[in-house]
Amino acid sequence: MAVDAISAAVAPPGATGITGTLRPPAASGAGSPAQAPGFVDSLGRLVLAADDAGRVANETVGAMLGGTGDVHEAMIALQQADIALQLTVQVRNKLVQAYQEIMRMPI
């Protein structure tokens, strides 16, 4: 029975198990926890947040160069964009690491 469960999780790609949670909730299979936001969703939100921070930094630097903003505002916005990007990269690294770990798993 245990072997059946594992093969069921591995065989149909994109239907259940790990692959199921790696997809958006709408596309996930019936067996996966569709309500809980998956890791990839978090990554997507992080990418959006990092992009947002980068846009804000760009605007703030533009305002500083235009003479309407402060130097410290621009530098802080840049730092926050940097931190948001670093966080996104770290999450992405962990995701790739987990994927590789699973791919190395002998079946």
Binding site: E73, I83, Q90
Partner: protein
């Protein structure tokens, strides 16, 4: 994003406030001898009024009953202290007795104010650097 970024926002507001304080001191120093302004009277010393301001989720942790974390410039007020008077009959703005009304600016006081504001600016910069380092250390957990 969280408490730490709110702390950065609080420090950022302080940086802006200290910059305004420095600007006020610079304006006072620059006009220490201005005997006439737009309204015809001598320049009056400017003073910056700072006000505590709530900043995001930082308040709920630090503020407690009185939510206050950031700071903002509530306004720039004019010092109503009397003008200095200097005997200088040759001056075009001298009155009938030969006295000239000079701004109520004490240059030594302005220098001290400016130094204080600059040090406060540096202190807030240090706080921001520290918070950034803390966040980056936390990110290193993932490596």
């Amino acid at each position: 994003m969280g408490t730490l970024t709110s702390a950065i926002a609080a420090s950022r507001s302080a940086l802006t406030a200290e910059r305004v304080r420095i600007e006020a001191a610079v304006s006072n120093l620059a006009n220490a001898e201005s005997t006439r302004g737009p309204d015809g009277t001598p320049y009056r010393r400017r003073d910056v009024v700072l006000e505590a301001q709530p900043v995001g989720p930082f308040d709920t942790l630090v503020g407690g009953g009185t939510p206050a974390a950031g700071v903002r410039v509530a306004g720039v007020v004019e010092d109503r202290a009397p003008f200095q008077r200097r005997y200088q009959p040759s001056h075009p703005d001298a009155d009938a007795e030969g006295f000239v009304a000079l701004p109520n600016v004490d240059q030594a006081e302005e220098m001290v104010d400016m130094l204080g504001a600059a040090r406060a600016y540096q202190a807030n910069l240090s706080a921001i650097t520290l918070i950034r380092d803390v966040i980056q250390r936390a990110l290193e957990l993932g490596k």
